[in-house]
Subunit: 477 residues, 2 copies
């Protein structure tokens, strides 16, 4: 039997002889070049024929016998009878992604745009308190024994839940116990949990229109049917038809600072929404993503806690107040369901990051978190002012600017002659990261504008960045 080809060139560099022999023998068996039942030469004679050590052959034979490719018996070694692998011609296309993935995904630019001026939702990472955060991490690691390396208890690390409950009662006036706080892997993970634990596939989920695209992705991937509800100056404005025809199981809202329009939900609307949700047997998920950076007076009270036992889950995040890569957020639940939800969330996600959670609790307890929020509030105020001034100062047609009552972004409205997707594409080519407002809308709503993040926009660079943005509006397509 001629087996020279087993070690014929090309011999890939860095692959030991014995591994190469194993690989090629295996491919020959699986590919059908060596037919089932074929007897192979004795190890000694194959070794002699190939000019290699007998052990090299023995290794390959034994390994392939262990895998089931070869069979060793008292007569020697033969090729096993295997279900033949399909011939290469039959290698058809792989199955694709699921229908829900194809539907839910956004035509989103790469995350690379996050570092560009005007990218929305990016905090002032250049002002991140590396020193105090690393000190908290260092303390947590020094104190960590092996227990901190395991999964976290359902709901998260008790120290962090306690620190958060206290923080929320101070800044948000919540009467909340640590047992009502569930630590999540960030807002997206929290929404995903709510979608799967509180609603079933096929249920209607109401989303704001315009609204946060990533939230639509989370709800859509959980198999929910999205229903877009219009937003006006008082926030979510559902009609009687909305309630009757697409009764929600889950309503996702941003009442403190509607994303991206900036509307604050009026008290009347809040009470109506709670009443409607109660009647429909629906859960409200309140995404309070940036109320920490409210300007002009204290924050409005959250929807959560407005009425006793309202069906509201409050979602908060550290992505904007600290940094997105931390991947920690939290949900606050009504007391009556907190225990059940927490257990379910623990099984759904197997929580961890115990050392980081402990560090964050330390960071909050020592007052670094509140101090950082205070500094950032001032900084974002200055950055928004610089952006508004630059927009007013830089030559070009006057465009309406709305929003900015909280958070890290403004909305710049564009005339129909300047389609936002096209302007954003040109802006990207100029190194800017604004997002087209039309990406935030679902039919029948049509908006044309840019969501301009200023979290990462250095005041000193505002004029230059706006000048570039103006170029993106005038440059030829």
């Amino acid at each position: 039997m001629q087996l020279d080809w087993l070690l014929a060139p090309p011999l890939p560099a860095g692959v030991p002889r014995q591994h190469l022999l194993y690989q090629r023998l295996r491919a020959a068996v699986l590919g059908g070049r060596l037919a089932p039942g074929t007897r192979l030469p004795a190890s000694r004679s194959l070794a002699a024929g190939l000019g290699i050590a007998r052990n090299t052959v023995l290794f390959a034979y034994e390994q392939l016998a262990a895998e089931g490719c070869l069979v060793a018996d008292r007569h020697g070694t033969r090729v096993a009878a295997l279900a033949p692998a399909p011939p290469p011609a039959a290698v058809t296309a792989l199955p694709g992604l699921s229908a829900r993935a194809a539907t839910a995904l956004q035509p989103e630019p790469g995350r690379d745009s996050d570092s560009l001026p005007f990218a929305p939702g990016v905090p002032a990472l250049d002002a991140f308190p590396f020193r105090s955060w690393r000190a908290s991490l260092e303390r947590a690691w020094r104190a960590a024994g092996w227990r901190q390396l395991g999964y976290s208890p359902h709901g998260g690390e008790p120290a962090l839940r306690a620190a958060l409950a206290e923080h929320l009662s101070t800044v948000r006036g919540f009467a909340v116990q640590p047992a009502q706080v569930v630590i999540t892997g960030g807002t997206q993970a929290g929404l995903d949990l709510c979608a799967r634990l509180l609603a079933d596939a096929g249920d209607f989920a109401w989303v704001e229109n315009p609204g946060y695209p990533a939230a639509r992705t989370a709800l859509g991937l959980a198999g929910l049917r999205l229903h877009a509800v219009a937003v006006d100056a008082e926030g979510l404005a559902p009609t009687a038809a909305d309630w009757a025809v697409q009764p929600p199981r889950l309503v996702l809202v941003t009442p403190s600072h509607q994303y991206p329009s900036g509307a604050v939900m009026s008290l009347a609307r809040r009470l109506e929404l709670i009443g409607g949700a109660r009647a429909a047997g629906a859960w409200i998920v309140e995404d309070d993503y940036d109320s920490e950076f409210r300007r002009g007076g204290p924050a409005l009270p959250a929807l959560y806690g407005l009425c006793a036992d309202a069906p509201v889950v409050y979602a908060g995040t550290f992505s904007k107040t600290l940094y997105p890569g931390l991947r920690l957020g939290y949900l606050v639940l009504p007391a009556a369901v907190a225990q059940t939800f927490m257990r379910a969330a623990g099984q759904a996600t197997r929580p961890g990051q115990g050392v980081e959670q402990t560090a964050l609790a330390d960071f909050i307890r020592r007052g670094h978190y509140t101090a950082h929020l205070r500094r950032m509030r001032r900084r974002y105020e200055a950055r928004q002012a610089a952006l508004r001034a630059a927009l007013a100062r830089q030559p070009g047609p006057e465009l309406a600017v709305t929003g900015g009552g909280a958070g890290l972004h403004l909305v710049l409205w564009l005339p129909p002659a300047l389609p936002d997707v096209e302007v954003a594409r040109r802006a990207a080519a100029l190194g800017l990261g604004p997002r087209p407002l039309s990406r935030y809308t679902l039919p029948p709503l049509a908006c044309n504008g840019l969501v301009l993040g200023y979290g990462n926009l250095d005041e000193a660079r505002a004029d230059e960045a706006v000048a570039r943005l103006r170029r993106a509006m005038t440059a030829p397509a």
Copy 2:
């Protein structure tokens, strides 16, 4: 108008007067004690009546006007006309969890059991290389600029994906490019991603029977219909009826070391499974959760990469090789879908933990990871031997022990007179964490035994722990 009650005792400690006034006024408006349209006294006269500073009243009035509870006009201040909150009697029960949550959740003990002897799936955290891991973390934080604080690129940090691709090609023989590796938040997160991105609600997902309960939770919460397929000594053993009646969209398998039975899937079965999946248009997800700790010779090749372009996604984790709380794992995808899947995964989860990922890449590149795996392989071999010896030595009826070809657990079979749930309950009362085998099965399969983890079982404590386990088997119910 008599408003003394606004500051009547009890006055909660630590709440400033002006906040208390605001809270009580608000509750009176929302609760209906102050009817819509009611005129409130001028701030000066209310302050005099309550014996407080006028500014205190002004603060409360202004805050409540901003919220929409009060209306200020040229005649003074009156209570706004709001949709009345439902009377307390109408406060009905909150909506519950979703049907899928109710179905998918396991009657699992709390995570507290993880630290107990015999808890399955817990690595030897007492042998964790704190020093070298912290050094890698420290280097990553020192090198971190603000860019590392943002979301990670889709698919994860390039350095970690490259380090993993290299590691997998060395230990698993994969010919895999970094672009085919997607970093996840651990195995549970990876399965959840596969379930949502590769299958739709209502699709059949095949799970092994017996099999990993947490995997069933992930697939069930994604809305998939679970179909339990029997496992024998050669691994998953689907019948023609399985393929015909419940054609899968997703097949979850643990071919290297079936969990919990320990069976290794034969090569013939692997080829049959790939052929069947191809014909059904199904994805196979290969959960290779502990093949790093295989005993007795090199690991069998993975299902992934066995045939060109097989519809296989490979799932790996650092939970068992490093520590569960790290919350990092990975998926390896066929080249043809890697790019699409990576984009979708990035939108579904918004990846982060960039600094930790960079630290892990450093840890792998410096050889610490391979060295740790080598040490742990020896340690688990010693721990398993100590457990087997203790089981043989400690008095009591002889019970069959299976598994242990890899990983961190053995299966101890119990006679029908000792129902496993009951034994596990008694063992928990004695400070032990074995899991009843029946928790891993779905009907019609019925097994009675204990899954005994030995990852966290100090050799010196094996005899004492087994003696306690024997007590749990003999103690009165």
